[in-house]
Symmetry: C2
Subunit: 307 residues, 2 copies
Protein backbone atom coordinates (compact mmCIF):
# COMPACT_ATOMS: atom_id res chain seq x y z
CA UNK A 1 0.00 0.00 0.00
CA UNK A 2 2.96 2.34 0.62
CA UNK A 3 4.19 1.44 -2.88
CA UNK A 4 0.75 2.22 -4.30
CA UNK A 5 0.60 5.52 -2.46
CA UNK A 6 4.03 6.56 -3.70
CA UNK A 7 3.29 5.52 -7.27
CA UNK A 8 0.08 7.59 -7.19
CA UNK A 9 1.93 10.57 -5.71
CA UNK A 10 4.46 10.37 -8.56
CA UNK A 11 1.91 9.82 -11.30
CA UNK A 12 -0.33 12.67 -10.17
CA UNK A 13 2.58 14.89 -9.15
CA UNK A 14 0.64 15.58 -5.96
CA UNK A 15 1.92 14.72 -2.48
CA UNK A 16 -1.50 15.65 -1.19
CA UNK A 17 -4.01 14.06 1.12
CA UNK A 18 -7.42 15.65 1.54
CA UNK A 19 -8.68 15.54 5.11
CA UNK A 20 -12.33 14.56 5.12
CA UNK A 21 -13.19 16.14 8.48
CA UNK A 22 -16.81 17.17 8.01
CA UNK A 23 -18.32 19.42 10.67
CA UNK A 24 -22.03 19.81 10.09
CA UNK A 25 -21.67 23.56 9.61
CA UNK A 26 -19.28 22.95 6.72
CA UNK A 27 -22.03 21.15 4.81
CA UNK A 28 -23.89 23.32 2.26
CA UNK A 29 -27.52 24.07 3.07
CA UNK A 30 -28.95 22.20 0.07
CA UNK A 31 -27.31 18.95 1.19
CA UNK A 32 -28.47 19.34 4.78
CA UNK A 33 -31.98 20.21 3.63
CA UNK A 34 -32.20 17.07 1.52
CA UNK A 35 -30.81 14.81 4.26
CA UNK A 36 -33.03 16.31 6.95
CA UNK A 37 -36.12 16.13 4.78
CA UNK A 38 -35.51 12.41 4.33
CA UNK A 39 -34.30 11.44 7.83
CA UNK A 40 -35.27 14.43 9.99
CA UNK A 41 -32.98 16.54 12.14
CA UNK A 42 -31.59 13.38 13.66
CA UNK A 43 -28.24 11.64 14.00
CA UNK A 44 -29.16 9.64 10.91
CA UNK A 45 -29.92 12.86 9.05
CA UNK A 46 -26.56 14.27 10.12
CA UNK A 47 -24.75 11.09 9.06
CA UNK A 48 -26.45 11.21 5.66
CA UNK A 49 -25.55 14.89 5.23
CA UNK A 50 -21.83 14.43 5.90
CA UNK A 51 -21.70 11.34 3.71
CA UNK A 52 -23.30 13.16 0.75
CA UNK A 53 -20.98 16.10 1.31
CA UNK A 54 -17.93 13.80 1.29
CA UNK A 55 -19.17 12.00 -1.80
CA UNK A 56 -19.33 15.30 -3.70
CA UNK A 57 -15.78 16.18 -2.71
CA UNK A 58 -14.45 12.72 -3.60
CA UNK A 59 -16.21 12.81 -6.99
CA UNK A 60 -14.67 16.14 -7.85
CA UNK A 61 -11.11 15.45 -6.67
CA UNK A 62 -10.34 11.71 -6.90
CA UNK A 63 -8.52 12.03 -10.23
CA UNK A 64 -6.17 14.67 -8.79
CA UNK A 65 -5.16 13.21 -5.44
CA UNK A 66 -3.60 9.98 -4.20
CA UNK A 67 -5.32 9.80 -0.83
CA UNK A 68 -7.99 10.99 1.57
CA UNK A 69 -7.80 11.09 5.35
CA UNK A 70 -11.14 10.90 7.14
CA UNK A 71 -10.79 12.10 10.75
CA UNK A 72 -12.93 9.60 12.64
CA UNK A 73 -13.75 11.97 15.53
CA UNK A 74 -15.88 14.04 13.17
CA UNK A 75 -17.99 10.95 12.48
CA UNK A 76 -17.88 9.49 15.98
CA UNK A 77 -19.52 12.64 17.34
CA UNK A 78 -22.74 11.47 15.66
CA UNK A 79 -22.61 8.06 17.34
CA UNK A 80 -23.41 4.91 15.41
CA UNK A 81 -24.91 6.86 12.50
CA UNK A 82 -21.67 8.80 12.19
CA UNK A 83 -19.73 5.55 12.09
CA UNK A 84 -21.97 4.40 9.23
CA UNK A 85 -21.02 7.58 7.35
CA UNK A 86 -17.34 6.92 8.12
CA UNK A 87 -17.56 3.41 6.75
CA UNK A 88 -19.41 4.51 3.61
CA UNK A 89 -16.88 7.28 3.03
CA UNK A 90 -13.92 4.87 3.30
CA UNK A 91 -15.61 2.35 1.05
CA UNK A 92 -16.52 4.91 -1.59
CA UNK A 93 -13.03 6.45 -1.58
CA UNK A 94 -11.53 2.99 -2.12
CA UNK A 95 -13.93 2.34 -4.99
CA UNK A 96 -12.38 5.44 -6.62
CA UNK A 97 -8.94 3.90 -6.10
CA UNK A 98 -7.99 6.43 -3.44
CA UNK A 99 -5.68 5.39 -0.61
CA UNK A 100 -7.59 5.82 2.66
CA UNK A 101 -5.72 7.01 5.73
CA UNK A 102 -7.94 6.49 8.77
CA UNK A 103 -7.04 9.31 11.16
CA UNK A 104 -8.01 7.39 14.26
CA UNK A 105 -5.04 8.10 16.59
CA UNK A 106 -5.75 4.89 18.48
CA UNK A 107 -3.27 3.34 20.84
CA UNK A 108 -3.63 0.72 23.54
CA UNK A 109 -1.83 -2.45 24.54
CA UNK A 110 -1.70 -6.11 23.57
CA UNK A 111 -5.01 -7.64 22.64
CA UNK A 112 -6.68 -4.22 22.74
CA UNK A 113 -4.31 -2.74 20.18
CA UNK A 114 -4.82 -5.87 18.11
CA UNK A 115 -8.58 -5.30 18.27
CA UNK A 116 -8.18 -1.73 16.97
CA UNK A 117 -5.81 -2.90 14.23
CA UNK A 118 -8.13 -5.74 13.23
CA UNK A 119 -11.18 -3.47 13.33
CA UNK A 120 -9.69 -0.80 11.09
CA UNK A 121 -7.16 -2.56 8.89
CA UNK A 122 -7.63 -6.31 9.25
CA UNK A 123 -10.22 -9.03 9.45
CA UNK A 124 -12.10 -10.23 12.49
CA UNK A 125 -13.02 -13.89 12.92
CA UNK A 126 -16.71 -14.64 13.52
CA UNK A 127 -17.32 -18.37 13.75
CA UNK A 128 -15.99 -19.85 10.52
CA UNK A 129 -15.93 -16.57 8.65
CA UNK A 130 -13.84 -13.42 8.50
CA UNK A 131 -15.10 -9.87 8.11
CA UNK A 132 -13.77 -6.37 7.84
CA UNK A 133 -15.33 -4.02 10.41
CA UNK A 134 -13.91 -0.80 9.05
CA UNK A 135 -11.44 -0.95 6.21
CA UNK A 136 -8.73 1.67 5.89
CA UNK A 137 -5.33 1.39 4.17
CA UNK A 138 -3.30 3.36 6.70
CA UNK A 139 -4.02 4.27 10.32
CA UNK A 140 -2.64 6.97 12.59
CA UNK A 141 -1.43 5.60 15.92
CA UNK A 142 -0.45 7.18 19.27
CA UNK A 143 2.94 6.03 20.63
CA UNK A 144 2.56 6.90 24.36
CA UNK A 145 2.25 3.22 25.39
CA UNK A 146 5.45 2.13 23.65
CA UNK A 147 6.16 -1.00 21.59
CA UNK A 148 3.34 -2.99 23.21
CA UNK A 149 0.96 -0.53 21.61
CA UNK A 150 2.66 -0.43 18.21
CA UNK A 151 3.63 -4.05 17.51
CA UNK A 152 0.05 -5.37 17.19
CA UNK A 153 -0.60 -2.73 14.51
CA UNK A 154 2.60 -3.73 12.69
CA UNK A 155 1.58 -7.41 12.81
CA UNK A 156 -1.84 -6.78 11.29
CA UNK A 157 -0.44 -4.30 8.75
CA UNK A 158 2.17 -6.85 7.62
CA UNK A 159 -0.51 -9.43 6.97
CA UNK A 160 -2.63 -6.96 5.07
CA UNK A 161 0.17 -5.05 3.31
CA UNK A 162 -1.17 -1.92 4.98
CA UNK A 163 0.56 0.80 6.95
CA UNK A 164 0.43 3.40 9.67
CA UNK A 165 1.63 6.84 10.68
CA UNK A 166 2.79 7.20 14.27
CA UNK A 167 2.40 10.56 16.05
CA UNK A 168 5.86 12.05 16.52
CA UNK A 169 5.46 15.84 16.69
CA UNK A 170 1.92 17.11 16.39
CA UNK A 171 1.00 20.43 14.80
CA UNK A 172 -0.76 22.05 17.78
CA UNK A 173 0.68 24.87 19.93
CA UNK A 174 0.82 22.79 23.13
CA UNK A 175 2.43 19.74 21.51
CA UNK A 176 5.68 20.73 23.21
CA UNK A 177 4.36 20.23 26.75
CA UNK A 178 5.44 16.60 26.65
CA UNK A 179 6.84 16.00 23.14
CA UNK A 180 9.58 18.66 23.44
CA UNK A 181 10.82 17.65 26.89
CA UNK A 182 14.53 16.91 26.86
CA UNK A 183 15.58 13.32 27.38
CA UNK A 184 19.35 12.92 27.56
CA UNK A 185 19.64 16.36 26.00
CA UNK A 186 17.33 15.63 23.09
CA UNK A 187 13.59 16.25 22.76
CA UNK A 188 11.28 13.31 23.35
CA UNK A 189 9.93 13.54 19.78
CA UNK A 190 13.41 12.64 18.49
CA UNK A 191 13.41 9.55 20.67
CA UNK A 192 9.97 8.64 19.33
CA UNK A 193 11.26 9.27 15.79
CA UNK A 194 14.21 6.92 16.30
CA UNK A 195 11.77 4.25 17.48
CA UNK A 196 9.63 4.88 14.37
CA UNK A 197 12.71 4.37 12.22
CA UNK A 198 13.40 1.07 14.02
CA UNK A 199 9.76 -0.10 13.87
CA UNK A 200 9.75 0.87 10.19
CA UNK A 201 12.53 -1.55 9.37
CA UNK A 202 10.23 -4.39 10.38
CA UNK A 203 7.78 -3.62 7.58
CA UNK A 204 9.48 -2.18 4.50
CA UNK A 205 8.03 -1.45 1.09
CA UNK A 206 10.28 -0.97 -1.96
CA UNK A 207 11.89 2.35 -1.03
CA UNK A 208 9.96 3.47 2.00
CA UNK A 209 8.55 1.78 5.06
CA UNK A 210 4.89 0.97 5.67
CA UNK A 211 5.43 2.66 9.03
CA UNK A 212 5.42 6.44 8.77
CA UNK A 213 5.25 9.40 11.11
CA UNK A 214 3.05 12.42 11.76
CA UNK A 215 4.98 15.69 12.03
CA UNK A 216 3.16 19.04 11.99
CA UNK A 217 3.82 21.56 9.20
CA UNK A 218 3.92 24.20 11.91
CA UNK A 219 7.35 22.96 13.07
CA UNK A 220 9.58 23.03 9.93
CA UNK A 221 12.90 23.17 11.82
CA UNK A 222 11.98 20.08 13.76
CA UNK A 223 10.85 18.55 10.48
CA UNK A 224 14.38 18.97 9.11
CA UNK A 225 15.90 17.04 12.02
CA UNK A 226 13.18 14.39 11.95
CA UNK A 227 13.57 13.86 8.20
CA UNK A 228 17.17 12.80 8.89
CA UNK A 229 16.30 10.52 11.79
CA UNK A 230 13.63 8.78 9.69
CA UNK A 231 15.00 8.74 6.11
CA UNK A 232 12.89 5.75 5.06
CA UNK A 233 9.65 6.70 6.79
CA UNK A 234 6.95 8.66 5.03
CA UNK A 235 5.91 11.77 6.92
CA UNK A 236 2.25 12.71 7.05
CA UNK A 237 2.19 16.47 7.52
CA UNK A 238 -0.90 18.16 8.96
CA UNK A 239 -1.12 21.88 9.64
CA UNK A 240 -0.74 23.25 6.09
CA UNK A 241 -3.16 26.06 5.31
CA UNK A 242 -5.75 26.66 7.99
CA UNK A 243 -3.34 25.87 10.84
CA UNK A 244 -0.72 28.27 9.49
CA UNK A 245 1.88 26.04 7.78
CA UNK A 246 3.08 27.43 4.42
CA UNK A 247 4.43 25.63 1.37
CA UNK A 248 7.86 27.26 1.65
CA UNK A 249 8.16 25.75 5.14
CA UNK A 250 7.50 22.25 3.85
CA UNK A 251 10.76 21.69 1.96
CA UNK A 252 12.54 20.10 4.96
CA UNK A 253 9.92 17.36 5.14
CA UNK A 254 10.85 16.03 1.67
CA UNK A 255 13.85 13.92 0.73
CA UNK A 256 16.20 14.62 -2.17
CA UNK A 257 14.10 12.29 -4.31
CA UNK A 258 11.18 14.73 -3.96
CA UNK A 259 9.34 12.08 -1.96
CA UNK A 260 8.97 11.16 1.69
CA UNK A 261 6.15 13.48 2.70
CA UNK A 262 2.43 13.76 2.09
CA UNK A 263 0.77 17.02 3.00
CA UNK A 264 -2.72 17.12 4.48
CA UNK A 265 -5.24 19.85 3.96
CA UNK A 266 -8.70 19.56 5.46
CA UNK A 267 -10.67 22.78 5.83
CA UNK A 268 -8.56 24.44 3.12
CA UNK A 269 -10.00 21.99 0.59
CA UNK A 270 -13.35 20.80 1.89
CA UNK A 271 -14.44 24.28 2.97
CA UNK A 272 -12.87 26.09 0.04
CA UNK A 273 -16.25 27.48 -1.00
CA UNK A 274 -16.36 29.50 2.22
CA UNK A 275 -13.13 31.31 1.36
CA UNK A 276 -13.22 34.62 -0.46
CA UNK A 277 -10.88 33.21 -3.10
CA UNK A 278 -13.40 30.55 -4.13
CA UNK A 279 -16.62 32.38 -3.28
CA UNK A 280 -17.58 32.54 -6.97
CA UNK A 281 -18.36 28.81 -6.91
CA UNK A 282 -21.12 29.37 -4.37
CA UNK A 283 -22.51 26.79 -1.98
CA UNK A 284 -23.96 24.73 -4.80
CA UNK A 285 -20.52 24.56 -6.37
CA UNK A 286 -18.72 23.52 -3.17
CA UNK A 287 -17.23 20.43 -4.82
CA UNK A 288 -15.88 22.45 -7.75
CA UNK A 289 -14.39 24.89 -5.27
CA UNK A 290 -12.66 21.95 -3.58
CA UNK A 291 -11.29 20.81 -6.95
CA UNK A 292 -9.89 24.26 -7.66
CA UNK A 293 -8.36 24.41 -4.17
CA UNK A 294 -6.62 21.07 -4.81
CA UNK A 295 -5.25 22.36 -8.11
CA UNK A 296 -3.98 25.49 -6.38
CA UNK A 297 -2.46 23.47 -3.53
CA UNK A 298 -0.72 21.22 -6.05
CA UNK A 299 0.94 24.24 -7.66
CA UNK A 300 1.76 25.81 -4.31
CA UNK A 301 3.47 22.67 -3.02
CA UNK A 302 5.89 22.46 -5.94
CA UNK A 303 8.14 25.03 -4.28
CA UNK A 304 8.53 22.54 -1.42
CA UNK A 305 9.46 19.33 -3.20
CA UNK A 306 10.75 20.13 -6.68
CA UNK A 307 14.49 20.25 -5.99
CA UNK B 1 -20.47 12.10 38.55
CA UNK B 2 -17.23 11.79 40.59
CA UNK B 3 -19.33 12.40 43.72
CA UNK B 4 -21.77 9.70 42.61
CA UNK B 5 -18.96 7.26 41.91
CA UNK B 6 -17.36 7.87 45.30
CA UNK B 7 -20.66 7.58 47.14
CA UNK B 8 -21.32 4.25 45.41
CA UNK B 9 -17.81 3.02 46.21
CA UNK B 10 -18.39 3.86 49.90
CA UNK B 11 -21.88 2.42 50.06
CA UNK B 12 -20.93 -0.85 48.39
CA UNK B 13 -17.52 -0.99 50.05
CA UNK B 14 -16.13 -1.86 46.64
CA UNK B 15 -13.55 0.28 44.80
CA UNK B 16 -14.11 -1.95 41.81
CA UNK B 17 -14.77 -1.41 38.14
CA UNK B 18 -15.57 -4.38 35.94
CA UNK B 19 -13.94 -4.16 32.52
CA UNK B 20 -16.44 -5.19 29.86
CA UNK B 21 -13.88 -6.21 27.23
CA UNK B 22 -15.65 -9.02 25.39
CA UNK B 23 -13.59 -11.08 22.99
CA UNK B 24 -15.81 -13.43 21.02
CA UNK B 25 -14.00 -16.47 22.42
CA UNK B 26 -14.93 -15.38 25.95
CA UNK B 27 -18.62 -15.68 25.10
CA UNK B 28 -20.23 -18.99 26.16
CA UNK B 29 -21.31 -21.29 23.34
CA UNK B 30 -25.03 -21.11 24.14
CA UNK B 31 -25.03 -17.33 23.73
CA UNK B 32 -23.10 -17.46 20.47
CA UNK B 33 -25.35 -20.23 19.15
CA UNK B 34 -28.47 -18.18 19.84
CA UNK B 35 -27.04 -15.00 18.31
CA UNK B 36 -25.69 -16.78 15.21
CA UNK B 37 -28.94 -18.69 14.69
CA UNK B 38 -30.79 -15.39 14.62
CA UNK B 39 -28.31 -13.21 12.69
CA UNK B 40 -25.88 -15.70 11.14
CA UNK B 41 -22.13 -15.83 11.58
CA UNK B 42 -21.96 -12.15 10.74
CA UNK B 43 -20.78 -8.92 12.32
CA UNK B 44 -24.35 -8.41 13.49
CA UNK B 45 -24.36 -11.87 15.02
CA UNK B 46 -21.08 -11.11 16.79
CA UNK B 47 -22.42 -7.78 18.08
CA UNK B 48 -25.54 -9.46 19.40
CA UNK B 49 -23.47 -12.18 21.11
CA UNK B 50 -21.20 -9.76 22.99
CA UNK B 51 -24.16 -7.59 23.99
CA UNK B 52 -26.07 -10.57 25.44
CA UNK B 53 -22.93 -11.72 27.21
CA UNK B 54 -22.44 -8.25 28.75
CA UNK B 55 -26.08 -8.06 29.75
CA UNK B 56 -25.75 -11.30 31.72
CA UNK B 57 -22.69 -10.00 33.56
CA UNK B 58 -24.31 -6.64 34.32
CA UNK B 59 -27.49 -8.34 35.60
CA UNK B 60 -25.50 -10.53 37.97
CA UNK B 61 -23.10 -7.88 39.33
CA UNK B 62 -24.75 -4.43 39.19
CA UNK B 63 -25.79 -4.49 42.86
CA UNK B 64 -22.20 -5.16 43.96
CA UNK B 65 -20.17 -2.71 41.91
CA UNK B 66 -20.14 1.04 41.34
CA UNK B 67 -18.95 1.05 37.74
CA UNK B 68 -18.22 -0.78 34.51
CA UNK B 69 -15.57 0.05 31.95
CA UNK B 70 -16.31 -1.10 28.41
CA UNK B 71 -13.12 -1.13 26.32
CA UNK B 72 -14.31 0.29 23.00
CA UNK B 73 -11.64 -1.49 20.91
CA UNK B 74 -13.32 -4.81 21.64
CA UNK B 75 -16.51 -3.46 20.05
CA UNK B 76 -14.87 -1.43 17.30
CA UNK B 77 -13.26 -4.59 15.94
CA UNK B 78 -16.73 -5.63 14.76
CA UNK B 79 -17.30 -2.36 12.90
CA UNK B 80 -20.62 -0.55 13.06
CA UNK B 81 -22.37 -3.57 14.57
CA UNK B 82 -19.83 -3.61 17.37
CA UNK B 83 -20.47 0.06 18.02
CA UNK B 84 -24.18 -0.73 18.34
CA UNK B 85 -23.29 -3.32 21.00
CA UNK B 86 -21.09 -0.73 22.74
CA UNK B 87 -23.91 1.79 22.80
CA UNK B 88 -26.44 -0.75 24.08
CA UNK B 89 -24.02 -1.89 26.77
CA UNK B 90 -23.44 1.68 28.01
CA UNK B 91 -27.15 2.43 27.95
CA UNK B 92 -28.09 -0.74 29.81
CA UNK B 93 -25.39 -0.26 32.45
CA UNK B 94 -26.69 3.26 33.08
CA UNK B 95 -30.24 1.96 33.40
CA UNK B 96 -28.88 -0.19 36.26
CA UNK B 97 -27.44 2.97 37.85
CA UNK B 98 -23.85 1.93 37.11
CA UNK B 99 -21.24 4.58 36.40
CA UNK B 100 -19.92 3.98 32.87
CA UNK B 101 -16.24 4.59 32.18
CA UNK B 102 -15.72 4.55 28.43
CA UNK B 103 -12.21 3.20 27.91
CA UNK B 104 -11.66 4.98 24.63
CA UNK B 105 -8.13 6.41 25.08
CA UNK B 106 -8.90 9.12 22.56
CA UNK B 107 -6.76 12.18 22.18
CA UNK B 108 -6.50 14.77 19.44
CA UNK B 109 -6.45 18.55 19.21
CA UNK B 110 -8.87 21.46 19.19
CA UNK B 111 -12.10 20.85 17.33
CA UNK B 112 -11.21 17.17 16.89
CA UNK B 113 -10.85 16.58 20.63
CA UNK B 114 -14.09 18.48 21.09
CA UNK B 115 -15.77 16.12 18.61
CA UNK B 116 -14.60 13.07 20.59
CA UNK B 117 -15.71 14.65 23.87
CA UNK B 118 -19.09 15.62 22.42
CA UNK B 119 -19.54 12.21 20.83
CA UNK B 120 -18.84 10.25 24.00
CA UNK B 121 -19.80 12.53 26.87
CA UNK B 122 -21.72 15.48 25.47
CA UNK B 123 -24.42 16.48 23.03
CA UNK B 124 -24.04 17.19 19.35
CA UNK B 125 -26.11 19.86 17.64
CA UNK B 126 -28.13 18.73 14.60
CA UNK B 127 -30.20 21.57 13.21
CA UNK B 128 -32.37 22.80 16.08
CA UNK B 129 -31.92 19.69 18.18
CA UNK B 130 -29.26 18.09 20.36
CA UNK B 131 -28.41 14.41 20.57
CA UNK B 132 -26.06 12.10 22.42
CA UNK B 133 -24.04 9.90 20.05
CA UNK B 134 -22.51 7.66 22.67
CA UNK B 135 -23.11 8.43 26.33
CA UNK B 136 -20.50 7.53 28.91
CA UNK B 137 -19.93 9.15 32.33
CA UNK B 138 -16.13 9.08 32.28
CA UNK B 139 -13.67 8.74 29.41
CA UNK B 140 -10.04 7.68 29.29
CA UNK B 141 -7.85 10.17 27.41
CA UNK B 142 -4.29 10.08 26.00
CA UNK B 143 -2.10 13.07 27.02
CA UNK B 144 0.60 12.96 24.30
CA UNK B 145 -0.77 16.09 22.55
CA UNK B 146 -0.71 18.25 25.68
CA UNK B 147 -3.28 20.77 26.94
CA UNK B 148 -4.77 21.36 23.47
CA UNK B 149 -5.88 17.74 23.59
CA UNK B 150 -7.16 17.79 27.18
CA UNK B 151 -8.94 21.13 27.52
CA UNK B 152 -11.78 20.35 25.09
CA UNK B 153 -12.57 17.24 27.16
CA UNK B 154 -12.53 19.30 30.36
CA UNK B 155 -14.88 21.88 28.81
CA UNK B 156 -17.44 19.27 27.76
CA UNK B 157 -17.10 17.36 31.04
CA UNK B 158 -17.70 20.55 33.03
CA UNK B 159 -20.93 21.22 31.16
CA UNK B 160 -22.10 17.66 31.65
CA UNK B 161 -20.75 17.11 35.18
CA UNK B 162 -18.78 14.18 33.78
CA UNK B 163 -15.16 13.23 34.12
CA UNK B 164 -12.09 11.60 32.64
CA UNK B 165 -9.02 9.56 33.46
CA UNK B 166 -5.81 10.63 31.74
CA UNK B 167 -3.14 8.03 30.95
CA UNK B 168 -0.16 8.64 33.22
CA UNK B 169 1.65 5.33 33.66
CA UNK B 170 0.16 2.39 31.80
CA UNK B 171 0.31 -1.20 33.04
CA UNK B 172 2.13 -2.79 30.10
CA UNK B 173 5.79 -3.93 30.12
CA UNK B 174 6.94 -1.44 27.47
CA UNK B 175 5.19 1.57 29.05
CA UNK B 176 8.60 2.77 30.21
CA UNK B 177 9.97 3.29 26.69
CA UNK B 178 8.64 6.83 26.68
CA UNK B 179 6.78 7.29 29.99
CA UNK B 180 9.84 6.54 32.18
CA UNK B 181 12.28 8.75 30.30
CA UNK B 182 13.91 11.24 32.63
CA UNK B 183 13.02 14.88 32.15
CA UNK B 184 14.99 17.19 34.46
CA UNK B 185 15.88 14.14 36.52
CA UNK B 186 12.29 12.93 36.90
CA UNK B 187 10.35 10.45 34.80
CA UNK B 188 7.97 11.85 32.19
CA UNK B 189 4.98 10.18 33.90
CA UNK B 190 5.59 12.42 36.94
CA UNK B 191 5.46 15.48 34.71
CA UNK B 192 2.21 14.19 33.18
CA UNK B 193 0.90 13.56 36.71
CA UNK B 194 1.67 17.11 37.80
CA UNK B 195 -0.26 18.36 34.77
CA UNK B 196 -3.16 16.07 35.69
CA UNK B 197 -3.16 17.59 39.18
CA UNK B 198 -3.28 21.08 37.62
CA UNK B 199 -5.97 20.16 35.05
CA UNK B 200 -7.90 18.55 37.89
CA UNK B 201 -8.16 21.81 39.80
CA UNK B 202 -10.20 23.21 36.93
CA UNK B 203 -13.01 20.72 37.49
CA UNK B 204 -13.38 19.71 41.13
CA UNK B 205 -16.08 17.60 42.79
CA UNK B 206 -16.62 17.71 46.56
CA UNK B 207 -13.42 15.97 47.67
CA UNK B 208 -11.89 14.70 44.45
CA UNK B 209 -11.51 16.06 40.97
CA UNK B 210 -13.54 15.02 37.94
CA UNK B 211 -10.15 14.61 36.26
CA UNK B 212 -8.40 11.40 37.27
CA UNK B 213 -5.44 9.37 36.11
CA UNK B 214 -4.68 5.87 34.84
CA UNK B 215 -1.78 4.18 36.65
CA UNK B 216 -1.10 0.47 36.20
CA UNK B 217 -1.30 -1.91 39.20
CA UNK B 218 1.90 -3.48 37.88
CA UNK B 219 3.91 -0.44 39.04
CA UNK B 220 3.10 -0.06 42.78
CA UNK B 221 6.24 1.93 43.67
CA UNK B 222 5.46 4.47 40.99
CA UNK B 223 1.88 4.44 42.27
CA UNK B 224 3.13 5.60 45.66
CA UNK B 225 4.90 8.62 44.18
CA UNK B 226 2.02 9.42 41.84
CA UNK B 227 -0.52 9.23 44.69
CA UNK B 228 1.38 12.10 46.36
CA UNK B 229 1.66 14.20 43.20
CA UNK B 230 -2.09 13.83 42.54
CA UNK B 231 -3.74 13.77 46.00
CA UNK B 232 -7.11 14.96 44.72
CA UNK B 233 -7.26 12.90 41.53
CA UNK B 234 -8.90 9.52 41.42
CA UNK B 235 -6.64 6.81 40.05
CA UNK B 236 -8.10 4.19 37.75
CA UNK B 237 -5.89 1.13 38.19
CA UNK B 238 -5.78 -1.55 35.46
CA UNK B 239 -3.56 -4.60 35.66
CA UNK B 240 -5.01 -6.32 38.75
CA UNK B 241 -5.41 -10.08 38.32
CA UNK B 242 -4.76 -11.33 34.81
CA UNK B 243 -1.94 -8.82 34.18
CA UNK B 244 -0.18 -9.77 37.43
CA UNK B 245 -1.03 -6.96 39.89
CA UNK B 246 -1.87 -8.24 43.38
CA UNK B 247 -4.06 -6.71 46.07
CA UNK B 248 -1.18 -6.25 48.50
CA UNK B 249 0.52 -4.08 45.87
CA UNK B 250 -2.47 -1.78 45.61
CA UNK B 251 -2.20 -0.07 48.99
CA UNK B 252 -0.05 2.80 47.67
CA UNK B 253 -2.77 3.80 45.21
CA UNK B 254 -5.23 4.63 48.02
CA UNK B 255 -5.29 7.70 50.23
CA UNK B 256 -5.56 7.67 54.02
CA UNK B 257 -9.33 8.07 53.66
CA UNK B 258 -9.44 4.64 52.01
CA UNK B 259 -10.48 6.35 48.76
CA UNK B 260 -8.73 7.73 45.71
CA UNK B 261 -8.42 4.58 43.62
CA UNK B 262 -10.75 2.33 41.66
CA UNK B 263 -9.38 -1.04 40.60
CA UNK B 264 -10.28 -2.57 37.27
CA UNK B 265 -10.61 -6.24 36.56
CA UNK B 266 -11.67 -7.43 33.11
CA UNK B 267 -10.86 -11.05 32.25
CA UNK B 268 -10.65 -11.95 35.95
CA UNK B 269 -14.37 -11.18 36.28
CA UNK B 270 -15.97 -11.62 32.86
CA UNK B 271 -14.06 -14.83 32.12
CA UNK B 272 -14.21 -16.18 35.67
CA UNK B 273 -16.06 -19.30 34.46
CA UNK B 274 -12.95 -20.32 32.52
CA UNK B 275 -10.82 -20.35 35.68
CA UNK B 276 -10.40 -23.57 37.66
CA UNK B 277 -11.57 -21.78 40.80
CA UNK B 278 -14.99 -21.07 39.28
CA UNK B 279 -15.28 -24.04 36.92
CA UNK B 280 -18.14 -25.47 38.97
CA UNK B 281 -20.44 -22.75 37.60
CA UNK B 282 -20.01 -24.06 34.07
CA UNK B 283 -20.51 -22.09 30.88
CA UNK B 284 -24.24 -21.74 31.48
CA UNK B 285 -23.46 -20.21 34.87
CA UNK B 286 -20.87 -17.71 33.54
CA UNK B 287 -22.72 -14.76 35.03
CA UNK B 288 -22.90 -16.37 38.47
CA UNK B 289 -19.18 -17.12 38.21
CA UNK B 290 -18.62 -13.42 37.50
CA UNK B 291 -20.66 -12.50 40.57
CA UNK B 292 -18.61 -14.81 42.76
CA UNK B 293 -15.39 -13.40 41.30
CA UNK B 294 -16.56 -9.87 42.17
CA UNK B 295 -17.33 -10.97 45.75
CA UNK B 296 -13.89 -12.55 46.04
CA UNK B 297 -12.19 -9.48 44.55
CA UNK B 298 -14.05 -7.28 47.03
CA UNK B 299 -12.67 -9.29 49.95
CA UNK B 300 -9.20 -9.45 48.43
CA UNK B 301 -9.01 -5.69 47.94
CA UNK B 302 -9.71 -4.92 51.59
CA UNK B 303 -6.06 -5.54 52.43
CA UNK B 304 -5.24 -2.66 50.12
CA UNK B 305 -7.53 0.11 51.30
CA UNK B 306 -8.72 -0.64 54.84
CA UNK B 307 -6.15 1.33 56.79
Amino acid sequence: MINKMISKIKKLDAPIVVGLDPMLDYVPEHIKRKAFSEFGETLKGAGEAIWEYNKGIIDSTYDLIPAVKPQIAMYEQFGVEGMVAFQKTCEYAKSKDLVVIGDIKRGDIGSTSTAYAVGHAGQVQVGEKKFRGFDEDFLTVNPYLGSDGINPFIDVCKEEKKGMFILVKTSNPSSGEFQDQLVDGKPLYELVASKVAAWGEEHMGDDYSYVGAVVGATYPKMGEVLRKIMPKNYILVPGYGAQGGQAKDLAPFFNEDGLGAIINSSRGIICAYKQEQYAKFGEQGYADASRQAVLDMKEDLKQAYVK
